[in-house]
Structures are given as structure tokens and as C-alpha cells.
């Protein structure tokens, strides 16, 4: 498991889901920061500079797409994964335009969930190695 080298910002407004996923992440990641909407997520992002951002899309105050767009403006290379049920294709088109390329499919399937996060972790490791070599 590569995730134990990385910190994650997890943004989800639904309390039960938030607790469940945060517990799963806490057992696998170096550090987990949890926010309940995009405004709090963006604030935590600026403060903690997490390696990976994982977010729901539909949330109050600021949704996952608006937050992702703001984060990409701060750091265009930031890996972001969005939870999606693929029910709203306009959201996903916008997500692709913003530069979000990883999705976690709902309903959550634990193996796929970790495979997707590990895919992002491998990409991060390779990017860091490439930067060190330069």
C-alpha cells in the first residue's frame, strides 16, 4: 500500500459517509484532513497542502467542482479525485475541463476505491522522482 506516504484532504457533507470513509483513509494514509463543504475544504487545502484531494461533488456553500477549480488555480498539478454516481454528465464534463481525471465510482467498492487512490499515489511518486532528477 503506497498511501501511507501521502496526506489526503477528504471533503464530504454527508455525516455518516464522512465518518466511514475518514476511518478507512485514516488506517491507510499518512494523514487525513476532513472538511464538510467546499469552503472548509479550500481553507484546509491552503493550510495543510495535502498530497491528494478527494471530494464529493454536490455539497452546500461551495460544491466539489468549484472547490476543485479553485485548487487547480492554486496548483494546476494537484491530484484530485471526485466521488461520482455519473448521474449528471454536465458535472463530469466540467470536471474534465478543470483537469480532474480520477473518479471514485458510487456506490463505493473498497478495492476499486483503494486502487484509484493508489493509482494517484504512483503518479505522485513518479512526478516527484522526475522533479528530483531534474
Amino acid at each position: 500500500m503506497r498511501l501511507n506516504n501521502f496526506s489526503i484532504l477528504y471533503v464530504e457533507d454527508e455525516e455518516t459517509t464522512q465518518e466511514l470513509i475518514a476511518d478507512i483513509l485514516a488506517s491507510s494514509c499518512k494523514e487525513v484532513f476532513v472538511a464538510s463543504d467546499g469552503v472548509e475544504g479550500l481553507r484546509l487545502y491552503k493550510e495543510k497542502k495535502p498530497d491528494i484531494v478527494l471530494s464529493d461533488i454536490a455539497m452546500p456553500n461551495m460544491d466539489g467542482l468549484e472547490m476543485s477549480e479553485a485548487i487547480k488555480q492554486i496548483n494546476p498539478e494537484q491530484p484530485i479525485a471526485l466521488f461520482t454516481a455519473f448521474s449528471q454528465s454536465s458535472y463530469l464534463k466540467k470536471a474534465a475541463e478543470i483537469g480532474v481525471a480520477t473518479y471514485i465510482l458510487k456506490p463505493l467498492e473498497e478495492e476499486q476505491f483503494f486502487n484509484s487512490l493508489n493509482y494517484m499515489a504512483i503518479d505522485l511518486e513518479l512526478s516527484r522522482m522526475a522533479k528530483e532528477e531534474k
Partner: protein
């Protein structure tokens, strides 16, 4: 991401140690077809991406697609072939997967396309997870 995609496209299209560039293109295009299920009428829509990423024009792509349909090779065998052609180089494999990802999410994103991408992605990476 575009820069990275261009880099791997150049690698793919110019790599000196490719024994058979055509075979590599067939395997690559075949995986893309597994993901997005391209019908003949949709080829134009995907053509610029195929041209850019795999150096395939429309005529060549249609020929390859017909070949793929006739051969019926398994996804596993295509994945093994591509990994070998990329010398099991993790960086190149990741760049290749980013190209596949781009096909999977273009035009919004269909759940079947993304699920298929995930299956292929995990076949490439399972030993590294």
C-alpha cells in the same frame, strides 16, 4: 497534462526499440476501443485524439479496428504486450494510462467507459499497488 501526453506520444511514435510499431498501435487502439466502444460513425470524433496520441489517421484506424474485431484478442494479452513494449517502464506505463484515461473521460464520461478504464488500469498496475 497535455505536455505529458505529448511526451509519451513522441516516445510511442519514435521509440527505436519497438519491434513492430504497427502491432503496438493495434494493441493501443484496441484497448481504447474496449473503453469507449467506438462505432464507425463516431470515428471522426475521436480521430484527432488518435492522430495526436497514436499517430493513426482515420483510414488506418478503421483498418486496425476491423483487424481487432476479427482477431478477438483478450485484454490481458494486449496489456502484457504493451507493458513489454514499454519495457515495463513505470513512467511510460503511467503516461500511457493517462492517454487511455483521457479517452475514457472525453465527452463527459460514461460509467461503462470509466469502469472499463479502471479494469484495464488495474491490470497494468496491480503488481505495484
Amino acid at each position: 497534462m497535455t505536455d505529458n501526453l505529448n511526451k509519451i506520444s513522441n516516445l510511442i511514435n519514435n521509440q527505436e526499440n519497438l519491434e513492430d510499431e504497427k502491432k503496438f498501435k493495434v494493441a493501443s487502439a484496441s484497448l481504447v476501443c474496449s473503453i469507449v466502444d467506438i462505432e464507425k460513425k463516431d470515428v471522426k470524433k475521436y480521430c484527432s485524439l488518435f492522430q495526436k496520441n497514436f499517430n493513426l489517421d482515420e483510414t488506418e484506424f478503421i483498418q486496425i479496428k476491423e483487424q481487432i474485431d476479427a482477431e478477438g484478442l483478450s485484454i490481458d494479452s494486449k496489456v502484457i504486450y504493451i507493458k513489454n513494449e514499454l519495457n515495463n517502464n513505470m513512467y511510460q506505463i503511467m503516461q500511457f494510462l493517462k492517454i487511455l484515461n483521457k479517452f475514457a473521460i472525453m465527452d463527459g464520461c460514461k460509467p461503462e467507459s470509466y469502469s472499463e478504464f479502471e479494469k484495464i488500469r488495474d491490470k497494468f498496475l496491480k503488481e505495484y499497488y
